[in-house]
Amino acid sequence: MMRRLLPVVLLVAAGSLAAAEFTPLDRAEAQRLLSADKHRQPTVVTLWSSDCGYCKANLKLLSSLTRNNRKLRVITVAAEPESAHLWPMLSRYGLAGPHYAYGSDSPEAIAYAIDPNWGGELPRTFLFDGAGRKERISGVLTAPAIEKATGLRF
């Protein structure tokens, strides 16, 4: 009996793991995530979406920088709800996470909690040096800009 059940149990477990790749983001969590005093190490919070080609360039760059300097922490936020095609687009960059996607809260409330001055353009990136400083950059990142904002060398 157990032997017959086992594959089913494994399948269910695999299914629930796949569904948990993204943590749903609400306005309270967004505010916490973007608070400079919550980041005690150099951290980049990078917003992306499945529609944004420029975001891929940033994810690729951040992925290579984390390999060069393990002190860099990269948190990803998909500015859209989780869907089947989202994880395959992100997983290829091998970023450790955590990984967020917009949850059931109002998207405008989440965006406002992330940054009241953000107009929704992507990529949008928030860079923390881990000592209370925070920078915002819209568009494609460069390694020197990330070095300057995080205080790390790559």
């Binding site: 499945s50 420029y54 405008e108 406002y112 001055n117 929704g120 819209s138």
Partner: protein, 369 residues
């Protein structure tokens, strides 16, 4: 209540138009169907929806890339949408026609290019001589440049013309290279009847201002001119397209979003025709969180509607002008706690309305003064 979202978040993108008999028609997505809803009492009650596409297929229905609805000059009802294909960013532009306004023919793909690449964000324009013109964001030139290891800025705008009310389309042609990649495209008819399309462009090196194309009667390009001059330099996706309307005196009015001097704002301005477009009367619309404005004109009036998050709720607001955009009065229309589509300004004869779909309240129609 039609339009209310189910438990899982769904795409809320919807379009509305008044039928010649005065009823309001709305198209939106339900699963793999575009659904058509009808209200004969200005949005108080709605008919059971009709499926536009009998065969299920993928449909885009976010705010920037939603199904569209319009009437051809011969009375045929037209619904267009983007059908996402397998690859990321890919899509095909689809159009279905109902001769009687009820029963739709199977949808056709309006372009000949079968490649599984970007053909998305269509704008649907009908003209008094029964032409139907669709223009969309197309990446065939970008893909060709990539294959040849060449750089290519942004995407391109292509258009297809039908001379039989949308039953068939001539081969598509390019309106312009170097459009922005994922902002909605808008259209209107110019003072002399020429079709106009406006979109966010990528001017060298990376200024995401807007371009306006004027088409000849056969649908080919007469001119493409820069229409805004805010000089927002970003290698990114604003996901925030413009809206255009031409009033009965032939004045072109537009609303758009740009970052100007470091601050993202919605702007209104008149696009004065000439050898180069001059923006007249440019002014800010709403506050710093104003977003996704739409506009329409009726004889003697001009209306803009947008949404604006106030820190707690999303507000729907409007601006009305009775003097051709020289002065405006602002009105509060509604608010919602949840997700919402962009506002759409729609016209019925001499009256303007705002249509707004929200997750919690469904479809709503607000008559403007």
């Amino acid at each position: 209540m039609p339009g209310m979202a189910k438990a899982t978040r769904q795409e809320l993108g919807a379009s509305a138009v008044f039928a010649p008999d005065g009823s309001l028609l709305v198209v939106t997505k339900q699963g793999e169907h575009v659904m058509l809803y009808r209200s004969s009492d200005d949005g108080k009650s709605w008919s059971a929806p009709t499926a536009v596409n009998a065969q299920p297929e993928q449909i885009s229905a976010d705010g920037e890339n939603r199904p569209k609805v319009a009437f051809a000059a011969d009375g045929g009802l037209l619904v267009s949408w983007t059908r996402p294909l397998g690859k990321p960013y890919s899509g095909a532009i689809r159009l279905a026609r109902a001769d009687d306004g009820q029963r739709f023919s199977p949808p056709l793909t309006v372009h000949k290019d079968p490649a599984e690449i970007t053909h998305r964000f269509e704008s649907l324009l009908t003209t008094p001589d029964n032409k139907v013109i669709l223009a969309w964001i197309d990446k065939r030139d970008l893909e060709a440049a990539k294959s040849g290891k060449k750089a290519y800025r942004g995407a391109a705008i292509y258009a297809a013309v039908s001379t039989d009310g949308g039953r068939s389309f001539q081969p598509e042609h390019k309106l312009a290279d170097h459009s922005c990649e994922c902002c909605r495209v808008t259209s209107a008819i110019d003072a002399d009847g020429a079709p106009l399309f406006m979109w966010r462009h990528v001017f060298e090196p990376n200024e995401r201002d807007h371009a306006l194309a004027r088409l000849k009667p056969d649908g080919t390009v007469e001119s493409v001119q820069r229409a805004t001059f805010d000089r927002w330099k970003v290698d990114g996706c604003p996901h925030h397209g413009p809206s255009l309307a031409v009033d009965e005196r032939g004045v072109r009015h537009a609303v758009w979003f740009n970052q100007k001097d470091g601050a993202g704002r919605v702007f209104y301005g008149r696009l004065a025709a000439g050898s180069g477009i001059a923006v007249e009367g440019q002014r800010q619309v709403g506050g710093p969180r104003a977003a996704h404005a739409d506009m329409a004109v009726a004889p003697g009036k001009l209306a803009i509607a947008w949404k604006e998050f106030d820190g707690e709720r999303t507000q729907l607001r409007g601006l009305m002008s009775a003097d051709g955009g020289d002065s405006f009065s602002e009105i509060a229309l509604a608010a919602t706690d949840g997700a919402s589509d962009q506002a759409r300004v729609v016209r019925r004869q001499d009256q303007l309305f705002v249509f707004w779909r929200t997750e919690k309240e469904g479809f709503r129609l607000f008559p403007l003064p």
